[in-house]
């Protein structure tokens, strides 16, 4: 248990530090610091109300504590552009980002684990010379460029898939769940998911392959061979299961990282998610919204790092719990 507590405190420290860096970034930027919360188009009354709410009429250190206190309560201010609370806005696009990230990551890891294990099994064959450089090339390709190529070929070229957005214009749904499980949504999801999948599959594939090669040197594999088990059984039930442990941790890390990394893919496909919201907010000088979206992306990253750390020690008994 103490390990979890230390890790938890550690995570809170990182969150606090990032929140502080963000506070300084938005306060020290060129121009009027009140710009971070108050748009020039707001009325005098709105302006006064926001000034008091965020303590912008007080000294910087007091503003800092008010900022932290507001954050703890989930109070992120009001978007300049949408004139709505930032929290509502970021939460309303969050499902789109989570669905896109989770589906592509899951497909990438299933594919990566299977192909990685298979490659390790067929070590030294001509397949290695073809598959590994292609995997590396896909990892090196800019995600937005992969998206553009897919858009040109599958989107506009064949005309099978819609070119952007998450739903057809004018489509209405009875609830958020009905929207996400609709066929229309799935069609829009295909191209961005394929793009992310192509980019993400490399890591689990290469990781699985090298883990398999390592595990295959272990004594228990030789033991299984001596017991006379079939090669298939040794590979799947003994080697692959053990080699998968670090891949599970990588999945958690990948989930945290992809939420922020999706920024470009969401922009290419006009996918209404957190990353695109951030880009539009930054481009439109919508500071409260940019800050809120950034904080939410950071929270995902830091919390998933924490989860990965816990998974790592929970799954592999050889890692000490000290």
């Amino acid at each position: 248990m103490p390990r979890i507590v230390t890790r938890l405190l550690h995570m809170l420290l990182v969150l606090w530090a990032v929140a502080t860096i963000l506070f300084l970034m938005f306060r020290l930027m060129p121009g009027d610091p009140t710009l971070a919360y108050i748009d020039t188009t707001f009325s005098a009354e709105q302006r006064q109300q926001l000034l008091v709410m965020f303590g912008l009429d007080r000294p910087l250190h007091e503003q800092y504590f008010i900022y932290l206190w507001n954050l703890l309560q989930g109070e992120l201010g009001t978007s300049f552009h949408y004139k709505r609370p930032v929290l509502d806005l970021v939460l309303s696009v969050l499902p789109n980002t989570v669905v896109l990230t989770f589906v592509s990551l899951l497909l990438a890891y299933i594919f990566g684990v299977l192909v990685g294990a298979w490659l390790a099994w067929r070590r030294g064959s001509w397949l290695e010379g073809v598959v590994i450089p292609s995997v590396l090339a896909l990892r090196a390709a800019p995600e937005f460029w992969l998206g553009m190529v897919l858009l040109a070929t599958l989107g506009f070229g064949l005309g099978i898939f819609p070119s952007g957005g998450a739903n057809s214009p004018g489509a209405t749904f009875s609830s958020e769940w009905a929207r996400i499980f609709s066929l229309d949504y799935a069609q829009h999801l295909v191209l961005p998911t394929l793009t992310l999948f192509l980019y993400l599959q490399g890591l689990p594939l290469l990781l699985m392959r090298s883990n398999m090669l390592e595990v295959m040197q272990e004594d228990f594999i030789m033991m299984a061979r001596m017991k006379g088990l079939s090669e298939r059984s040794i590979m799947l039930r003994h080697a692959a299961r053990n080699a998968m442990l670090p891949v599970v941790t990588a999945f958690a890390l990948g989930f945290g990282g992809s939420i922020g990394g999706n920024v470009v893919v969401e922009s290419v496909f006009s996918w209404p998610g957190l990353g695109r919201l951030l880009v539009n907010a930054v481009a439109g000088n919508d500071y409260p919204l940019a800050q809120g979206a950034f904080l939410l992306i950071t929270m995902f990253l830091v919390v998933m790092n924490f989860v990965a750390d816990l998974l790592y020690s929970a799954l592999d008994p050889r890692v000490s719990h000290g």
Partner: protein
């Protein structure tokens, strides 16, 4: 006699920094780097046109979306600019970003790793906590926000990349320093009265420099990819041509729906080649550094 005594350490140093000749991946990676370096160096002569000049034919018609041919090797953009020339000039920009970011990342990471690993105690704790914080910041969003606030300049992209990438290098170098500092020759240096900083830079550092190069070569690709993403999203410098800018231009001008592949495919291929070259070189280096991995 004196010559022989000098020759031995020189040969040892040569062996340490020697790039792999045998590993085919590393050889391909190095070749790609050399080609791009030459293109960047002679970009002015290789480019056939001014990359930003709007071109017209003899009758004064805009040369819009001309397909690749003799006059325009890779065709023209929808605003009549020569794509090949943009690609060549973009190489220079990409290498400047990649190499300068790699230098900053590798030196910062090495310095922090050396100091943290060698001095230990609270210095180590403090520096590694700072590294944790840097790793807790989402990479691309941070670069975008910083580029937007500090102004769209190439140097700001380099600074943002360096601010978040050094911890990976620092962590690995720190753990390497932890083992090196326990070795007998460090003890010997201490006993013979070498100062702490002398031990750190003369005795410890040469042993971890290969790792510095390894992480530097990976950082080149990362920085180029990041610069391309930032430019693509419209937060890049508008005064210089980069591969990311070309792709943004193509995306914004509906090149995909027009199917003008000759416009947006080449910049992507160039980015892939440079980044893959970094992977390949680091792979070759790893086999020298950790020969155990090669079975």
């Amino acid at each position: 006699m004196a010559e022989a005594a000098v020759a031995v350490p020189a040969a040892a140093a040569g062996r340490r920094f020697r790039l792999p000749k045998i590993d085919p991946y590393a050889a391909i990676g190095l070749t790609i780097y050399v080609v791009f370096f030459l293109v960047a160096l002679f970009a002015d002569r290789i480019a056939t046109h001014d990359p930003l000049e709007i071109l017209f034919d003899d009758d004064g018609n805009l040369l819009s979306n001309v397909a690749p041919g003799a006059a325009h090797v890779l065709g023209t953009t929808n605003l009549g600019r020569d794509i090949f020339s943009q690609l060549v000039m973009g190489t220079r920009n990409a290498l400047i970003v990649g190499v300068s970011a790699a230098i900053v990342v590798a030196s910062l990471g090495t310095l922090v790793g050396l100091v943290a690993g060698f001095f230990g105690k609270w210095v180590d704790t403090l520096l590694m906590r700072v590294a944790d914080v840097a790793l807790g910041i989402p990479f691309l969003p941070f670069v975008i926000v910083l580029a937007a606030f500090m102004g769209a300049q190439t140097s700001n992209v380099v600074i943002a990349v360096a601010l978040l990438l050094w911890p990976n290098t620092a962590r690995v170098i720190r753990s390497q320093v932890l083992t090196v500092r326990e070795r007998a020759f460090i003890e010997a240096a201490r006993v013979t009265g070498s100062s702490t900083w002398r031990i750190l830079f003369v005795h410890v550092m040469p042993n971890i420099l290969p790792l510095t190069f390894l992480y530097g070569s990976i950082a080149v690709g990362w920085a180029i990819l990041t610069e391309a993403s930032v430019s693509f999203l419209g937060f890049g410098p508008s005064d210089s041509i980069s591969w990311g800018y070309m792709l943004q231009d193509a995306y914004g001008s509906q090149a995909m729906s027009r199917g003008t592949y000759f416009w947006f495919v080449p910049p992507g291929i160039c980015i892939i080649l440079v980044v893959v070259a970094g992977f390949f070189i680091s792979r070759g280096y790893e086999e020298i550094l950790f020969p155990k991995l090669k079975d």
